[in-house]
């Protein structure tokens, strides 16, 4: 294997300590020394922080001084600092694609934290593989794509509203889509906000009114997102506007229809089902848009047909009723997307010991919000009584229900609700039973103290159970005061469950459409926990608000503004850089057999002068065409055959007698990032594995798999996105076909076919990744290393075996 045109390659190797993250586990001296000894490596250095200015400058200076052609950095995952180092080498006059990262932090130091020696050995293999990949890298030119100024914002709670207003004000075209009949989200339901006790509706409603008033915002309420396809700068969005059966332009929301509607007992969702609405209704009194709509599931005319009841139509002074209304589909294109789909409160029915389903006296904090609003308006929903207890951490910090995280807002909203109850009637006895009181925000501690001054009593203990004694109609609450170790068993008029937050159910659909990753807590995952807190694993898709994790209103608004600013950053330049992962043809090898033409899932390959030709604009870079070429004439930029073969060779070069090693080909969209998440979570898996990054598992040709087995791999794992989460929806089938061919050859040569395994992942399956990798490693270990003689036989007459006699 030689690089075309130049045999005198000069490679610089750098080992990053990552401030201890890497150097505390991996012996960086040994690793750097090892790197320095590799062929074509002219220098090998270490730095505490390669990504720092100093580290980057070191690379720039060395490139100039030592005339380097290629750079290899053993550091963190390329998804974090890849772009940083590409910029650095570009600054020094090289192509940004000649730098390679050996991901020794997420995929070595962190998951193998407890095995420093094995980790150091593995890091050598990884560094060596990266050196090979860099050595054969092509010095390609940077490419850009045009980008416009259109944004889709999904969800119109306070996060979506804020993001849309920021973007609209900045002159960007916003498509704001909300599935409910009104914008406003959960904040519209709240009584007051902590710690200032402003009335939530009073501060929110002017912002809501600003939305339809903004000429740059296209508002779609009562609308579902059906499908999103495409990529940054070119997202195609399909939405369906649900029928309201009321001509919105005509309706003046006079309320006559509501008054006349005979269906009166429909639980009002906005009031958490505590009050009833009619079949024709408005979402709430300050809704935007504040027009009427008909609920098709309960309206007599819409459920039973003509002639039963058309009262609203008869009385409407504006002739606004239209029973023939139909769903309207609409399609538009956007350049970036902000996901602000928010949270659902924890369903306390899951926590049976608190009796939410059993006792009327047990309510959620959100129900109490609505009750306080109704009381303040002079029409209380019910008498809450004199003695009220709040139970904290319901659906938070609780392994029994699989929610380990703190929901962050419950301590303060309970303090607020307790204060409001005490204000409105100082005779009330209010108790808050807490595990730890977290008053971390601006003004929170002071607010906590104010509540204590008001007479709200804070008792440290997690409530064990809520029950009713047979001789009483009140609920009893049992808890230990952990500070005195005394058991409290006392009756209460009302028990309020301070329910935690979870990802909203409707988010799953959006996350799947956009192939977004989730973090361990089930919320959507940011691209970097510190420096990219509103970016996602998808370029051009951003997060705002509680969809990323529990947060209060100020944090939500700050994040929404951050998300719009990140979106503007991409769109304002008019173009953005893209990675040239595109298939290409080695014309000298192509014999014009046309086998590849049908293989391409996007029809990017055609024939031109008896040679295959790839259309760069159409090719998505999956690499699945490569397997169809008997002459290896098809290749993929940034993941060329030479590069991958070099990586495989070097990854296995350090393998010792008696060891078994598995190679994990990880697709960039899901599996590679999943492996990074596993490392970040410090979940441990076998050190006998090396991960090789590919754009898609379908890039891994049968020849490459067999070559890996010949070169010393004892197991091959191919990880790919699940179909609905994959940028290459066809890839699953292509990989299955490739793996089946390899299995057949293995069977014939007496090698266990189980050694080659294919699994589809989504980015949240952390445990699944660990189990699968460990599983394959133990299959390889139990079966033992494959004898070299068998390995060699695997690649004999390989073309004939894969493509038939014609292609010997």
């Amino acid at each position: 294997m030689e690089d075309e045109g130049k045999d005198n390659i000069r490679i610089g190797v750098y080992v990053c300590h990552c401030g201890g993250n890497i150097s505390e586990v991996i012996d960086v001296d040994e690793l750097a020394e090892f790197g320095g000894k590799q062929p074509d490596v002219v220098l090998s250095k270490q730095n505490t922080h390669m990504c720092s200015d100093v580290g980057q400058q070191l690379v720039v200076d060395d490139i100039k001084e030592h005339n380097l052609d290629k750079v290899v950095i053993a550091a963190c995952s390329p998804q974090f600092q890849g772009a940083t180092f590409m910029r650095a080498v570009e600054k020094a006059g090289l192509s940004p694609y000649v730098v390679q990262l050996a991901n020794v932090r997420e995929q070595c130091a962190w998951p193998h934290y407890d095995f420093p020696e094995l980790a150091t050995e593995k890091a050598k293999g990884m560094l060596s593989a990266a050196i090979a990949k860099a050595r054969f890298s092509e010095p390609l030119e940077k490419q850009t794509m045009p980008i416009g100024k259109r944004v889709l914002v999904i969800g119109a709670g306070i996060a979506g509203i804020q993001a849309s207003l920021d973007l609209g004000d900045a002159g960007f075209e916003v498509y704001l889509v909300e599935k409910e009949p009104s914008i406003g989200g959960h904040m519209a339901q709240l009584s007051r906000t902590f710690p200032t006790e402003d009335c939530a509706a009073c501060i929110l409603s002017p912002k809501m009114a600003d939305v339809p008033a903004n000429p740059n915002i296209n508002l779609f309420t009562y609308t579902e997102v059906d499908d999103i396809e495409g990529y940054l700068g070119n997202f195609k969005v399909k939405v369906t506007k649900k029928p309201t059966y009321v001509i919105q332009d005509k309706c003046i929301a006079c309320g006559i229809c509501e008054e006349k509607c005979p269906i009166k007992n429909i639980p009002n969702k906005f009031d958490e089902g505590l009050t009833n609405r009619r079949a024709i209704y408005t979402a709430f009194d300050f809704a935007v848009p504040g027009k009427n709509l008909i609920d098709p599931d309960t309206c007599l005319r819409l459920t039973k047909g003509e002639g039963v009841c058309e009262v609203c139509e008869r009385f409407c002074p504006e002739d606004a009723i239209n029973f023939d209304d139909k769903p309207e589909e609409e399609e538009f294109e956007v350049d970036t997307i902000i996901v602000a789909t928010g949270f659902d409160i924890f369903d306390p029915s899951e926590k049976k010991v608190y009796g939410y389903d059993k006792y009327n006296e047990v309510i959620t904090a959100l129900e109490l919000e609505r009750m306080i609003v109704h009381s303040a308006e002079g029409n209380p929903i019910r008498d809450l009584g004199k003695k009220i207890g709040f139970i904290q951490c319901v659906g938070s910090r609780d392994e029994q229900i699989g929610r380990e995280y703190c929901s962050r807002i419950c301590c303060m909203y309970a303090t607020k609700l307790a204060s409001l109850l005490k204000h409105s009637n100082p005779e009330r006895d209010i108790y808050i039973f807490y595990t730890d009181l977290r008053a971390y925000g601006k003004g929170f501690e002071e607010y906590y103290k104010r509540a204590q001054n008001l007479g709200v009593r804070f008792i440290r203990g997690r409530v064990a159970e809520v029950f009713k004694n047979s001789d009483s109609d009140k609920v009893t609450l049992k808890v230990e005061d952990t500070l005195t170790r005394m058991i409290i068993e006392d009756e209460f008029d009302t028990v309020v469950l301070s329910v935690g937050l979870g990802l909203s159910k409707s988010t799953d659909k959006i996350a799947n459409m956009l192939r977004l990753a989730k973090s361990g807590d089930g919320f959507l995952k940011e691209a970097h926990p510190k420096f990219k807190p509103v970016d996602t694993n998808r370029e051009g898709v951003f997060l705002a608000g509680t969809v990323q994790g529990p947060k209060d209103i100020p944090d939500t608004v700050a994040q929404a503004s951050a998300a719009s600013s990140r979106a503007i950053r991409l769109m304002n330049q008019g173009e953005y850089p893209i990675a040239p992962i595109i298939a290409f043809v080695h014309n000298d090898l192509c014999d014009g057999c046309e086998l590849c033409v049908d293989e391409c899932p996007v029809d990017a390959i055609s024939m031109s002068s008896d040679k295959a030709k790839v259309n760069d604009a159409i090719c998505t870079g999956c690499g699945s065409c490569l397997a169809s070429c008997p002459r290896d004439a098809l290749d993929l930029h940034l993941y060329t055959n030479k590069q991958l073969l070099g990586e495989i060779t070097n990854a296995l070069k350090e393998k010792k007698e008696g060891e078994t090693k598995i190679l994990v080909f990880a697709d960039d969209t899901c599996t590679y990032r999943l492996a990074d998440s596993v490392g970040t979570a410090k979940l441990s898996y076998t050190t006998d594995s090396i991960i090789i990054r590919v754009p898609s598992g379908s890039r891994v040709t049968p020849k490459l798999m067999l070559a890996a087995l010949k070169l010393g791999a004892d197991g091959i794992f191919i990880g790919e996105c699940e179909e609905n989460a994959s940028p290459y929806p066809h890839s699953g089938g292509a990989i299955k076909e490739n793996v089946a061919k390899v299995h057949e050859i293995l069977r014939k040569e007496g090698v266990k076919p189980e050694r080659v395994k294919f699994v589809q992942f989504v980015t949240v399956m952390l445990g699944g990744f660990v189990n699968n990798i460990n599983g394959l490693a133990s299959i390889a270990m139990e079966a033992g290393a494959i004898p070299q003689e068998k390995r060699d036989r695997l690649v004999v007459n390989i073309n004939e075996r894969l493509f038939g006699e014609k292609y010997v």
């Binding site: 392994e399 029994q400 203990g461 159970e465 230990e480």
Partner: protein
């Protein structure tokens, strides 16, 4: 005046020992008190289960003299409710083991009159052996 306690290496050793015997990471207990509120034997106990856990966390060996561990019925009410996924009954068992391994015989079958042995429920004898034959 309140008692002073020492927090030193030695205390950590006691904690380690109980963690090893119980298999529970006792330091993960965040002292929420759900175990105490859930315990059906609480009214008979001298210290609550959460206090027992705290004393072990601090390495206070006087916990070995408490009655609470012997009253634990292993009903697992605490275990199924512990928000940190700890099994307090296993910690109580570990503490009982430490006591039992001192191997002090408190009963001798020979000393029990035959007719009493006949009258005693089997489970009482079994549990006596279980407790006192370490």
């Amino acid at each position: 005046m309140s008692d002073k306690i020492k927090i030193s290496r030695k205390n950590v050793e006691f904690l380690k020992k109980i963690e090893d015997l119980s298999g529970e990471v006792i330091m993960r207990c965040d002292q929420c008190g759900v175990c105490s509120g859930s315990c059906p034997m609480i009214s008979e106990m001298d210290i609550t289960p959460s206090e027992l856990m705290r004393k072990v966390q601090l390495g206070q060996e006087d916990v070995l003299g408490s009655k609470a561990m012997w009253l634990c019925a292993s009903c697992f009410a605490c275990t199924v409710r512990c928000p940190r996924g700890l099994d307090v009954s296993k910690v109580a068992e570990a503490l009982r083991q430490v006591n039992l391994r001192k191997a002090i015989d408190h009963i001798d079958l020979k000393d029990i009159p035959d007719d009493e042995i006949k009258r005693l429920p089997q489970i009482a004898l079994v549990s006596e052996f279980r407790k006192f034959t370490g």
